[in-house]
């Protein structure tokens, strides 16, 4: 057996790593649809689209990312899914500015702090880049469109449904996994309207940490223990909804839960009768539609959509035990 050559091994490992890293940036030889060549013939350069997300590791955004990838594959264009894993707005904006400086013609943004995005988005638009927001909005930034839910209306319906299940009296606790995010502020506004109209008293809106299921469960358990007379639970984020279901099982609690989003664990708990319902906001389309729109605007010179408030609202998907089977089938692809 030849002796182990440490230097040689290190050299070849380093060379392999460098080739791997460089290879990641090389264009892939995918099969391209015929219209890609046609678009290139008059655009003179490849279409480059990107989407930047404030929390790339959140399970909620798995279908959104897949929607982005599907749209890119169908169109035969390079679509970059990027962002930061931790909600660091400074880093996300720095990355956005790099996208602007490096030839991306259309960018979709999932922002967390709307005011912070006003100047960067305005600057990008001045550079001729088409910018849209998706899932969460920065309405004063001049973005072309917002793809998302009518969050006030959806949460109001969610609140009324919960109040009905709770018998129209008692107390309700709400959770917020992204304090300060405009989407959550709007959802809380609607939720408060809905439960109050339905006769429930709100004991509080409690902040949770969606990146850590353990911490999420602990917070919800603490809320339940400190409010023994609670009659309803209203989690306003996807991860919180699943966590609330687990706590309800663990504590053998009786309060109804009507939560948010279509996380697979939530759907399974609806099927099992632990969670009473949830309101989805079509996260797949929140990735798919912005890319399709950006492509039309950038590559096909499509017109701006003149929608009220620049809002392209998704449908509210209300899931209960009656229709959960259909959603369990549809969302299986994103279950991980």
């Amino acid at each position: 057996m030849p002796p182990f050559d440490r230097r040689g091994f290190l050299r070849s490992t380093a060379a392999g790593a460098a080739a791997g890293i460089l290879g990641a940036g090389a264009p892939r030889a995918d099969e391209t649809p015929p219209w890609v060549g046609w678009v290139r013939s008059y655009m003179k350069k490849p279409v480059k689209l990107a989407i930047t997300c404030y929390n790339t590791t959140a399970p909620y955004y798995t279908p959104t990312r897949i929607g982005v990838q599907d749209a890119g594959a169908q169109l035969g264009v390079e679509v970059l899914w990027t962002g930061v894993p931790d909600g660091d707005t400074v880093a996300q904006i720095a990355q956005f500015r790099q996208l602007v400086a490096t030839g991306y013609q259309g960018i979709a943004v999932i922002p967390v702090e709307p005011d912070a995005w006003i100047a960067p988005i305005k600057h990008a638009i001045e550079q001729g880049i088409v910018v849209v927001c998706t899932n969460s909005d920065s309405p004063d930034s001049g973005r072309e469109l917002f793809f998302g839910q009518d969050l006030v209306g959806a949460a109001e319906a969610q609140g009324q449904m919960l109040a009905k299940l709770a018998g129209g009296r008692g107390t309700v606790a709400m959770t917020n996994c992204a304090p300060g995010m405009l989407a959550l502020d709007r959802r809380i506004e609607g939720a408060k309207k809905g439960v109050t109209a339905g006769g429930l008293e709100i004991v509080g809106v409690f902040n949770t940490d969606p990146s850590d299921m353990g911490s999420d469960r602990s917070t919800i358990r603490d809320i339940a223990r400190s409010h023994p007379n609670l009659t309803a639970m209203m989690p306003l984020c996807g991860q919180d909804t699943a966590a609330a279901g687990l706590v309800k099982q663990e504590m053998k609690a009786q309060w109804p839960i009507v939560g948010t989003d279509l996380i697979y664990q939530t759907l399974e708990m609806i099927r099992d009768g632990v969670i009473d319902g949830t309101v989805g906001q079509e996260p797949y389309l929140q990735g798919y539609l912005p890319i399709m729109h950006l492509y039309q605007r950038v590559a096909l010179n499509g017109p701006k959509l003149n929608l009220p408030g620049g809002n392209y609202f998704m449908a509210d998907e209300i899931v209960t035990t009656e229709n959960v089977a259909e959603y369990l089938e549809r969302e299986k692809r994103f279950a991980g």
Binding site: A14, I21, T57, W81, V90, R97, A101, E113, D115, A116
Partner: protein, 341 residues
């Protein structure tokens, strides 16, 4: 050793020291890493060398950079401040809230900077009073300052601020020669800090305290006071960064700066500052920051999926440190050879 050999040895030593002083810093390994990444970046993307992209890299490093100057100087004196990210967030919230409630600009800035200096003073005073390393104290205050930021801001970002005064807005959004004004301020602060480290008695004292605190004490340096001053300075730099972030973002979140301490420490250590103190330079720290900035930029340019970014960053940082280590080893081997001859 014969006289000609001695002369040759002295000549070689002088040559080597001329080369080092020509480079003006010891961190040749990290400089090589920066150059390597530059070449790789330029070869792999047509956008890398554009002015917009390069100024974008500088901009992306600015807020971390302010923090790195403070943390770097403190580490040179043998202490570590890991509460800087929380001070950054707290100061940003205090400044934004003061502006939100109609305070004049000077008061908001003074309030923010004062908060940072106060936090730094608390860190230093507690470390001195109960005689524990600053890393332990700041591990505790990291949580305390973050909690204060959350309490003061009511748990959510400060939104709906009135239009910022013209000067402050121009400071936050403006550019000079394509480079952001905040970045220029950071570069000026870095230059001043470098001059302090290299050219002043205080800089010498910082390195002496970090190198051997007992010896520094015996020659009459006030070790405790030096460290206290540095922790206050560290708080000030975090505060400056926080105030600048309000001018840049027009908002402030109580969780802003979470995790910055690790990125800052990475830049400082890659930049050649010894964890045990006594050695380092601001130029090295700038190069450490540059490595981090270029990696993050290349990750975007290469389209590496976000799931891989932290792993790729980590691997490239290890490679940078390996280059630094190789350079140091080479340096010590050359020195041994000169001594031997």
């Amino acid at each position: 050793m014969t006289a000609p050999a001695e002369r040759a040895g002295e000549e070689a030593g002088r040559e080597s020291s001329r080369w080092r002083s020509c480079l003006a810093f010891e961190e040749r390994g990290i400089a090589a890493a920066v150059m390597l990444f530059f070449v790789v970046g330029a070869a792999s993307s047509p956008y890398f060398l554009t002015i917009d992209n390069l100024t974008g890299i500088l901009q992306s490093l600015t807020f971390l950079g302010f923090l790195a100057i403070g943390v770097g100087l403190t580490l040179m004196a043998g202490e570590i401040d890991i509460s800087v990210g929380s001070i950054f967030g707290l100061v940003a919230v205090v400044t934004a809230l003061l502006l939100h409630r109609g305070a004049p600009l000077w008061l908001a800035i003074a309030g923010g900077l004062g908060t940072g200096v106060g936090c730094g003073f608390v860190n230093g005073a507690v470390a001195e009073l109960i005689r524990v390393p600053a890393v332990v104290v700041t591990l505790a205050t990291l949580g305390v300052y973050r909690a204060l930021a959350l309490v003061v801001a009511g748990g959510s970002p400060v939104r709906g601020m009135p239009p910022l005064p013209g000067f402050f807005d121009a400071f936050g959004q403006g550019t000079m020669g394509g480079v952001s004004v905040i970045t220029l301020l950071f570069l000026v602060m870095a230059l001043l800090a470098e001059l302090v480290v290299r050219r002043t008695a205080f800089g010498f004292r910082v390195l002496a305290v970090g190198s051997n605190p007992l010896a520094a004490h015996l020659v009459g340096f006030r070790v405790g006071r030096t460290r206290l001053l540095l922790l206050v300075f560290c708080g000030f730099m975090a505060a400056l960064s926080g105030v600048c972030s309000v001018a840049y973002l027009h908002t402030a979140g109580p969780t802003a700066g979470t995790g910055y301490e690790l990125s800052v420490l990475a830049a400082v250590i890659i930049g050649g500052v010894r964890l045990t103190g006594g050695r380092g330079s601001i130029l090295g720290i700038l190069l450490g920051l540059a490595v981090i900035g270029i990696i993050q930029n290349l990750i975007v340019l290469w389209g590496i999926p976000p799931t891989w970014t932290q792993g790729v960053s980590g691997m490239v940082l290890i490679a940078s440190m390996a280059l630094t280590w190789l350079s140091r080893r080479e340096e010590s081997t050359s020195a041994d050879r000169v001594r031997g001859s």
